[in-house]
C-alpha cells in the first residue's frame, strides 16, 4: 500500500518535472521572479535596519530568523502541496472525475502529487541563509533548542498541510473558489514579521484562528528561547486538531461533490 503510493508519487513528480521543462522560458521566469522576491524582501529588512537598531524589541538577527523560518515553512508547503493551486481547475476541467474513479486516494492525487521543482531551487538560498544566520547566533544555545525548532517547523508544515486540505475541500464543494489558496498566500504574508508587531486583536486571530503565528513565529521564538512550554504544547495540539478537522471537511466535501456538467 505505502509502496504503491510512493511509486505513484515518484511517477507524478517525474511527470511534473517533464511538464515544467516543456515550458522552459515560463518556468525560468517564475524561478527568477521568486528569487527576486526573496532578495527584495531581505534587502528591504536590511535597509530598514540602517535607520533603526531594534524593531518591537527584536534585533536584525532576530528578524532574520523570523523571516527565514517563514520562508522555510512556506516554501516547503509550496513544494509538496503544489497540486492545491490547480484544485479548482482540476474540478472544473473534470480531472477530478478521473481522480475519483481510480483506485488511489483522490486527496492524495489532488494535494500531494504535483511537485514544484522550481521551489526546490528557491529553497536552496533560504537554507544557505539559514546556515549563515545560525552561525551568527550566540554559541551554546544547546541542542534542545535546535531540536525544538525542527519539531515546531514540521508542526508548522503540518498546519499548512491542513489548510491546503481544507482549501481542496472548498474547491470540490463549491467549484468556484478559485482564489482561496491565494487568500492563504496573502494572509501568510503577515507571517513575514513576528506576530508581536500586530495589535491585540490581530495577534490573537493569528495565534488562535488563522494560526500563522503558530506556523512560523513559534519555531523561531523557540529557537530564540522565548516560547513557553505551554505554548509549545498548544502548537502541537493545534496541528493535530487542524489535521483531523480538515480531513473530516474534505471527506464531507467529496460526498457532496457534484461533478461539473456534461
Amino acid at each position: 500500500m505505502i509502496r504503491r503510493y510512493w511509486r505513484i508519487w515518484i511517477q507524478m513528480a517525474q511527470m511534473s518535472l517533464q511538464a515544467q521543462l516543456a515550458y522552459p522560458l515560463g518556468s525560468f521566469g517564475f524561478l527568477i521572479g521568486k528569487l527576486m522576491r526573496l532578495f527584495f524582501f531581505f534587502a528591504f529588512v536590511i535597509a530598514i535596519f540602517r535607520h533603526t537598531d531594534t524593531m518591537a524589541g527584536y534585533s536584525l538577527l532576530d528578524m532574520a530568523v523570523f523571516f527565514l523560518t517563514f520562508n522555510l515553512v512556506d516554501m516547503t508547503a509550496q513544494i509538496f502541496f503544489r497540486g492545491i493551486y490547480g484544485a479548482r481547475r482540476a474540478v472544473s476541467d473534470g480531472d477530478f472525475d478521473f481522480y475519483l474513479i481510480q483506485p488511489c486516494s483522490p486527496l492524495f492525487r489532488m494535494a500531494f502529487t504535483t511537485v514544484d521543482f522550481l521551489d526546490v531551487a528557491t529553497i536552496l538560498p533560504v537554507l544557505l541563509m539559514i546556515g549563515i544566520v545560525f552561525a551568527r547566533l550566540p554559541a551554546g544555545l544547546g541542542l534542545g533548542r535546535y531540536a525544538l525548532y525542527t519539531l515546531l517547523t514540521f508542526n508548522g508544515i503540518g498546519i499548512a498541510m491542513a489548510i491546503h486540505i481544507f482549501v481542496a475541500g472548498l474547491a470540490v464543494r463549491t467549484q468556484e473558489l478559485e482564489n482561496t489558496i491565494w487568500i492563504y498566500r496573502d494572509i501568510m504574508f503577515m507571517g513575514k514579521f513576528p506576530v508581536d508587531i500586530y495589535g491585540g486583536a490581530a495577534r490573537w486571530v493569528l495565534t488562535l484562528v488563522i494560526p500563522i503565528a503558530v506556523m512560523v513565529t513559534f519555531p523561531a521564538k523557540a529557537l530564540l528561547g522565548i516560547l513557553s512550554p505551554a505554548w509549545t504544547v498548544y502548537a502541537l495540539a493545534l496541528c493535530a486538531v487542524f489535521l483531523a478537522a480538515s480531513l473530516g471537511f474534505w471527506l464531507d466535501s467529496v460526498k457532496r461533490y457534484t461533478s461539473s456538467s456534461s
Binding site: G29, M55, A56
Partner: protein, 265 residues
C-alpha cells in the same frame, strides 16, 4: 463607436460582480497585506515622532493610500492577453471591428471600478476598526494634481503590461516574464515601502526608470511632501513616460501580430 466599448464595460462589470467569491478573495488578500504593512510601520515607528521624514500619520497613510492606488493602478489585462495569445483565441478578436486595446481597456476599467469601490470600503472599515488617522491634503490643488497623476500612472501601467504581455507572440508563454515584471515593478514603484528606505544611489537610479512615478511619487504628492511646482514636474515626466509606452506597446503589438500571422498562429 463609443457604444460598443461601453457595452464591453457593462458586461465586464456584471461578470466581475457575478464571480463574487473571486472578488472577495482578491480583496481579502489585499487587506492582509495592508494590515501587516500598517502594523509593521506602526511597530517600527514605536514612540518615534517621525521616520525618514514621514510623520507617523503620513507613514500610515502611505500604506492606506497605497491600497487604494494598487486597486486602481495595478489591474491590467496582461494575463488575459498572454492566455489568449497562447491559446490562439486572440485571432477571434482580430477579425472583429473593434480595437483590441480599446476593448481590453474597457474591460480593465470595469475591473478598476469594482476594485476601487472595494478598496475605499476596506480602508474605511480599517480606519473605523483600528482607529487609524488618515492624512488628508489641505489644498484643493493637491487633490487635483493627485487625481491626474493617478489617472496617468494607471494608463502607464496598462500600456507597460500590455507591452510585456505581447512578448507571448514570440514565446507563447510569457507568463514567466510577466510575473517577474509585475514583482519587480511593485517593489520599484514603492508598493511595499516608501522608496526613501533605500540608499540614495539606488533611489537616484530608480528615478531614471518609470516605476517610482506610478505609486511612490503620486503618494508623495498626496502627502504634500513636495512643492506644487515639483509635483507639476512629476506630472510632466509621467506624461513623457506614458507617451513612450503607448508608442512602444503599439509597436511591439504590431511586430508581434505580423510575426504571429507569419507563423500561421
Amino acid at each position: 463607436m463609443i457604444r460598443k466599448y461601453w457595452t464591453a464595460y457593462a458586461i465586464s462589470l456584471q461578470e466581475t460582480l457575478q464571480r463574487r467569491s473571486s472578488l472577495l478573495m482578491d480583496r481579502v488578500g489585499g487587506v492582509a497585506i495592508i494590515v501587516s504593512l500598517y502594523y509593521f510601520w506602526k511597530a517600527l515607528l514605536g514612540t518615534k515622532p517621525s521616520f525618514l521624514g514621514y510623520s507617523g500619520e503620513q507613514m500610515l497613510s502611505y500604506v492606506l493610500v497605497m491600497n487604494i492606488l494598487r486597486s486602481f493602478v495595478f489591474t491590467g489585462r496582461g494575463w488575459q492577453l498572454v492566455g489568449e495569445i497562447s491559446s490562439g483565441r486572440i485571432s477571434s478578436y482580430l477579425v472583429r471591428p473593434i480595437s483590441y486595446h480599446g476593448y481590453t481597456l474597457a474591460l480593465d476599467l470595469a475591473q478598476k471600478t469594482v476594485h476601487l469601490a472595494a478598496a475605499f470600503l476596506e480602508v474605511g472599515v480599517l480606519i473605523a476598526a483600528i482607529g487609524a488617522r488618515v492624512y488628508l491634503p489641505h489644498s484643493l490643488s493637491t487633490w487635483l494634481l493627485f487625481s491626474v497623476s493617478v489617472a496617468v500612472s494607471s494608463l502607464l501601467f496598462f500600456f507597460m503590461e500590455f507591452m510585456v504581455s505581447s512578448l507571448a507572440f514570440w514565446t507563447s508563454e510569457s507568463g514567466g516574464p510577466l510575473f517577474c515584471f509585475e514583482l519587480g515593478l511593485q517593489f520599484a514603484a514603492g508598493t511595499f515601502f516608501p522608496l526613501d528606505v533605500l540608499p540614495h544611489s539606488l533611489q537616484k537610479a530608480l528615478a531614471m526608470t518609470p516605476f517610482p512615478y506610478m505609486v511612490f511619487f503620486p503618494i508623495n504628492i498626496y502627502l504634500e511632501r513636495m512643492a506644487p511646482a515639483e509635483a507639476v514636474k512629476i506630472l510632466g515626466i509621467q506624461a513623457v513616460w506614458l507617451a513612450f509606452f503607448v508608442w512602444a506597446a503599439t509597436a511591439v503589438w504590431k511586430l508581434g501580430l505580423s510575426n504571429y500571422s507569419a507563423e500561421g498562429g
